[in-house]
Assembly symmetry: C2
Homo-oligomer: 110 residues x 2
Amino acid sequence: MQEERSYKDKKVISIGTVSELTGLSVRQIRYYEERQLISPERSSKGTRKYSFSDVERLMNIADLREEGVQTTEILKDIRKKEEKSKNPAQLRKKMLQGQLNAHFQYKHNG
Amino acid sequence: MQEERSYKDKKVISIGTVSELTGLSVRQIRYYEERQLISPERSSKGTRKYSFSDVERLMNIADLREEGVQTTEILKDIRKKEEKSKNPAQLRKKMLQGQLNAHFQYKHNG
DNA sequence: CGTGTAAGGAATTCTGACACG
DNA sequence: CGTGTAAGGAATTCTGACACG
């Protein structure tokens, strides 16, 4: 419905609410922005506004940080993922490759 | 995907942002709550939180108010609509009736 | 590197109330 | 009835910085 997508990406949530939603401190959320892991928008008065997508991404970041992954590494991961989603042809190719791998593995094991 | 639905109904937007999104004043938004046209949640510290659904409803309310419809009437409208969406069988019946009406009207006019 | 905290200021939100109509 | 506004207080958000490690 296209409308649904816009809800997920619309930046309307303030940092305090994001903090509650993710369990991260306000300080952490601002720091991840400094490291370019997220890019909130600014409201007319300068307060940060986040989308549900941002919240999800922050939860991923939180998980990775708990595993000890540094923000620099996380940034690389994010860039890889974005590259993929911007190149559907390449994505399909990789998925096909995955299926082929699974296929041959099945034959070998069977 | 079920997830999408949750974005639309999750109450995370503060009143100032809702005001920007709808063009209504903060005073108006609070008043419509007093008249039971909307029911935001309260955050841990007592601030009102709205969902995208609430924002949409407020835009409808704004349109009706501009036409001069009083809040009491708007409340009735809302209750009617909610009744319908809670009774799918009745809803289908009404839609069928609508189709029948359109059919006969067509025959008469043609 | 990643995060806590105190600092000072600006803007938000809340409630109850008075005003106008 | 519907909405604006001033009032006083509490909580939020912002930035730049110092601290620890």
